[in-house]
Symmetry: C2
Subunit: 488 residues, 2 copies
């Protein structure tokens, strides 16, 4: 993806609107926010991911001759507009929450400040990339949480929704906490650990299971994980694995990083029985890994049942986020610059659903941490030019249920602005960390959440409040709209 | 994707197994089947899609210097194997069911006959591509079925699981029956219709809704679809749209292909009220289109409620197949060639779940059509060298419940072999039709199903039977395995 020109990866209406702005000579600077409304899987948080690919996309944004030729052929665009496209490039500013950061609903994960023709064009691709990777990173964090310290391998490429979904999904899964992936292309592109041993077909291609195991162990004595469920797990697979391990021990081959993989059957029962067989043969340090339609709920249940599994391969349910396969991020106009004063005029989109009403204005977000514990107290969405002093008390209130107020006492909290500059005047001013660095950042980020927010079901919700000033602007806009509506 | 080398788009274990086969000098010719076990969304069928991208993938299969260098750095592969990879290319045969064809569980959609090192490597990418596109094509066919002849537009790019999921998902959606997509890159790559008008941000960027509509109508008088729900659908949006349509009429602009789009609220109620307002103003031919979290069930319900909608934009639920986001296709070893005799020795994979036991042998599939109606009577999976005569009676029986037998009388049926040659000795011998041609094929394919199989809930299941010969081979292998199991 990174080397491809994805300029036409956009909805057609972005282009018809662009031509509309072009023709009506309306190219004011505007503010668009990309945000989401609901945490995936009814969870308590999400993890921002995909920014590095958004940066690549913006850097490569240009209409090639072939692109313009294609658009000309649609007979919808005039020559003056097509000529404009030929020299098009992005000149705006972009702010974003860095990858791996914990985020909450209604917070702008990316803010685009640019002439409306540019800001409009980039809507679709930004959402596609951000929605996908944030979804999978969040799902991975949930699966990793359920495994309570065991390693989770991402195994889902074959069930991913196409090649990119496999490659960038695996990238996001590592950001969310997976220890590695089976996806070799992802390993090559992003320098993340790749792992894997063999499939049932390996076993079936040999005259018998023992020979298949033995051949494998001879080849890979230092990473010998034997898949034991091709014929009969406890009667054939595990005994044959033990025979091979024993032969390795007798031959003086140091046994380290070795074990078995269960890929079907009742994993709780099978793992306990396999553990007994391995222990009785003196292979207490052989690990038991498992795969087979796992997700965070099943892993949680298996842990509770005392399954003897210490390593997990998760495929379909992670790479597609099967129970919640869309993140639902949106991209909404928040302000239009007054050409004369340079001031940003806040804009609001109404909806019969109160939660869908947008937050107007050119905004930023502050995260309020407890000084003692380092945990998140709340987030505050405010106007970009507001400042706060952590040496003063801060009163925050819920933007929907405004009587719910909390005083955060002076000197008990610290503030961090979440949005950082990524593009300035069309130039990229941000360097993405490596994926493994983002993974480390994400691990630290997860430590800023209470367990009550991380739990899988019915989590505690972290408050995301509006500043006084922003709340007033929003209320006034709603009032004004309400008055106008009476006149319809 | 088509221009990218996706050779490393594979699971790491394919490569460790390849090296294993290389080292143990085991490179016999084998047969692998790619098939699926369960129709998406509990439906009665699926639609094969993705073959054209599988062909591109196989054609471009080669390990670049960078690929080999990357693999060398992993310190798992020996120099002789890496050297072999440098000159690797695919030399085998591939058979496939053409895109757009109706398919059923357990039928090989793709059959690979190749030396095991090659056949093993291509597993993951074939599954990724086939699983994704067949899933979305099937989902699209369901949505199109629910709309009873109305046009369905694919609108989901921003919610797709990454760029490929958007582009190839839209391709598959068109194959499944969508009339077009909002995805411009898909339009460019596959020459399919792209459409779209404007977003809420267009309305919000103007001082008022009327001006926004008026500007749009002046620009696009021949494709004037106005989005009416930014402020208040019935009090503001529809009246402003009518005002603009009236001005167009008064100015002598021919009104054709014009209408409104509803994107929120109660679509049944809103569409009926909007219809009344449009009709009362003399715009009986203005269409009403709708979007907003639609899927086949909601469209079916809205049709039943008499909603006045004739055109539908479907996003998230189609592009992710939200209620069933994975196709679940697998790739299983079915036979290994005896090096001496050249004969294919059938292989079987056992499972505690009877439905997961594979069909052994080098197989093909015949579709049995009723001569009179052209509808599908049943499918027959058999060995590749079996022949049948439609001038004789045919007795078919369910492979699980073998007492269920049906006699198909001579001269009442026709036979069609579903698998066609795609690669022979590594050379591509197949030319894919264009996407719009595949869409036409698919439309005809859907006509070979009874409505009872197409219905959304609890559909009639089409029989997929095994030939006598294949059934006997399978039974014998199971018997043999069972006997061996007693000896554990």
């Amino acid at each position: 993806m990174s080397t491809m020109n994805l300029t036409l990866l956009t909805d057609f209406y972005e282009l018809t609107m662009m031509q509309g702005y072009f023709k009506s000579q309306n190219n004011e600077k505007v503010v668009f926010d990309a945000f989401y409304r609901k945490n995936p899987c009814d969870g308590g948080y999400a993890i921002a991911a995909g920014l590095d690919q958004v940066i690549d996309y913006i850097k490569n944004l240009r209409f090639s001759k072939e692109d313009v030729e294609y658009l000309r052929g649609l007979k919808v665009f005039d020559e003056d507009f097509l000529e404009y496209l030929e020299s098009f490039h992005f000149t705006g500013d972009i702010y974003a929450i860095p990858e791996g950061t914990i985020v909450f609903p209604r917070e702008p994960l990316i803010k685009v400040v640019a002439p409306i023709m540019e800001a409009q064009l980039v809507e679709t691709a930004i959402l596609t990339i951000l929605n996908h990777q944030s979804l999978i990173a969040t799902k991975a964090a949930r699966v990793v949480y359920a495994a309570k310290g065991d390693g989770i391998m991402e195994f889902g490429l074959r069930r991913a929704q196409g090649p990119d979904a496999g490659v960038y999904g695996a990238r996001a899964a590592v950001i969310g906490g997976c220890v590695g992936t089976s996806n070799v292309l992802c390993g090559q592109l992003f320098d993340v650990p790749v792992k894997g041993t063999h499939a049932h077909s390996w076993i079936m291609s040999f005259p018998d299971e023992y020979t298949a195991f033995k051949t494998y162990a001879d080849l890979y004595p230092n990473a010998c994980c034997l898949l034991v469920d091709t014929y009969d797990t406890l009667k054939s697979g595990v005994p044959n694995a033990i025979r091979v391990f024993r032969e390795m021990r007798e031959a003086g081959i140091p046994l380290k990083n070795y074990g078995i993989r269960l890929d079907s059957g009742d994993l709780a029962y099978m793992s306990k029985q396999a553990r007994k067989l391995l222990d009785a043969a003196g292979f207490e340090d052989a690990y038991i890994s498992a795969s087979s339609d796992l997700d965070e709920y099943l892993i949680d249940s298996l842990k509770t049942q005392g399954a003897k599994i210490s390593s997990w391969g998760v495929g379909t349910n992670l790479i597609t986020s099967k129970d919640c396969p869309a993140f639902g991020g949106v991209y909404k106009l928040a302000a239009v610059q007054d050409a004369e004063t340079g001031e940003f005029i806040p804009k609001i989109k109404l909806s019969e659903n109160t939660e869908k009403i947008t937050n107007p204005g050119n905004k930023t977000i502050y995260r309020i941490y407890d000084r003692q514990t380092g945990k998140i107290r709340a987030d505050l969405i405010c106007l970009a030019d507001e400042t706060f002093d952590d040496k003063k008390d801060m009163i925050i209130f819920d933007p929907l249920e405004t009587w719910k107020k909390t005083k955060i006492h002076a000197n008990t909290y610290t503030l961090r602005e979440l949005l950082v500059p990524v593009f300035k005047g069309g130039e990229c001013v941000y360097t993405s960390p490596s994926v493994m660095e983002i993974r480390d950042i994400c691990t630290k980020e997860k430590d800023t959440l209470w367990d009550e927010t991380k739990r899988l079901v019915n989590p505690h919700e972290v408050y995301v409040d509006l500043s006084d000033k922003l709340y007033k602007i929003k209320s006034e806009l709603l009032e004004k709209m309400g008055r106008e509506a009476l006149e319809y």
